[in-house]
Amino acid sequence: MTVAAGIKTLKIDDRDFSARAQETILDVARQNGIFIPSLCELKGLSEVGACRLCLVEIKGSNRLFPACVTPVEEGMEVTTNSERLQRYRRSILELLFTERNHVCSVCVSNGHCEMQTLAQKLEITHVRFPYRYPKAEVDASHQRFVVDHNRCILCSRCVRVCDEIEGAHTWDLKGRGIHVRVITDLDEPWGSSETCTGCGKCVHVCPTGALFEKGRSVAEMMKRRQFLPYLTLMREDRE
């Protein structure tokens, strides 16, 4: 097979692009500076389409497609920013705010939070849906880290980084629908987890203040992600 056979040409927002066959719409958009929001996608981790914020339109279908898990196809015509998509994105993000107790003003991640930043970028000044105010736990049993379920958006980055990069698979998801929670081991306190290596990767990939280092107060938790592309690159080299 020639290289050319593995190349797909497609249109995104009426501009022509070529991409490798295994690339997703989101890959191509990111490489070319086209803004598609996402809170669960993180370069270096597998894509799961959890947050639904990267939904795009593809000509010929009424369905919306999550750009992070939709591979490019020859002749595809993608729209990333229609009025309908903007409306849905805003609604999805607003619903994320209602689902847990995101109190930005007293959050460790205030000012460094991907969700907060995205809300501003999408020009969300208020949430039109009623807040749920669920009772959510805070597990501070770990020696160095805390999980605050009030701030969790179930992006599953912690689950993926722990499984795919650290290889420990301490994190997982339990429950269905509105009752889903991230858990450590078989839903045991994080502090008594036998698989957790204490590496802290989960903390630093978390887009909000759901996972943070102990001792951080309001607005003090800065996430450092530099390790992720580096580790991924090193592993690709070895393969």
Binding site: N101, Q116, T125, Y133, A136
Partner: protein, 177 residues
Amino acid sequence: MSKLKLATVWLDGCSGCHMSLLDLDERLLAVAEKAELVYSPLVDQKIFPNGVDIALVEGAVSSEEDLDKIQMVRERTKTLVSLGDCAVTANVPGMRNPFGVRAVYARAYRENVTLEPGIPNDSVPRLLPCSRPVHEAVPIDVYVPGCPPSADTIFYVIGELLEGRPPEICAKTRFGA
């Protein structure tokens, strides 16, 4: 030209938004040239007047008194501004919501009280089951998130509204700002 009527209202909040308003400092004089402050916790006026042009509301709707008050304010106001995260999201006052109002009363009036513990049934407004954003109680015209919104943001918002323009606030403030 007659001055526009400006009011500010303090519901369930920490007064930080009003402090931020006072941080306008000498710019308050510029506001005073165009608007008359007809009602506010900062002035000695007991009753919210009719025909208010712009009202800034700080705080969440947490008690029966808050609810009555904001409904009256809405009726008497042309442009109602939800000012600050407590008004816009219920913010910190809303943190009691997951626990339920009985637990809140018990904590405040029984568990932490040594002298005659008991839940008051007069003199203190009765709490609503949940502390809610203002726009869940009445329609809002302008939203200004922030905890608190900066003096610059408030000055910009008031300035635009006094000129009859809808303020574009997204670049200036956000939740938790």
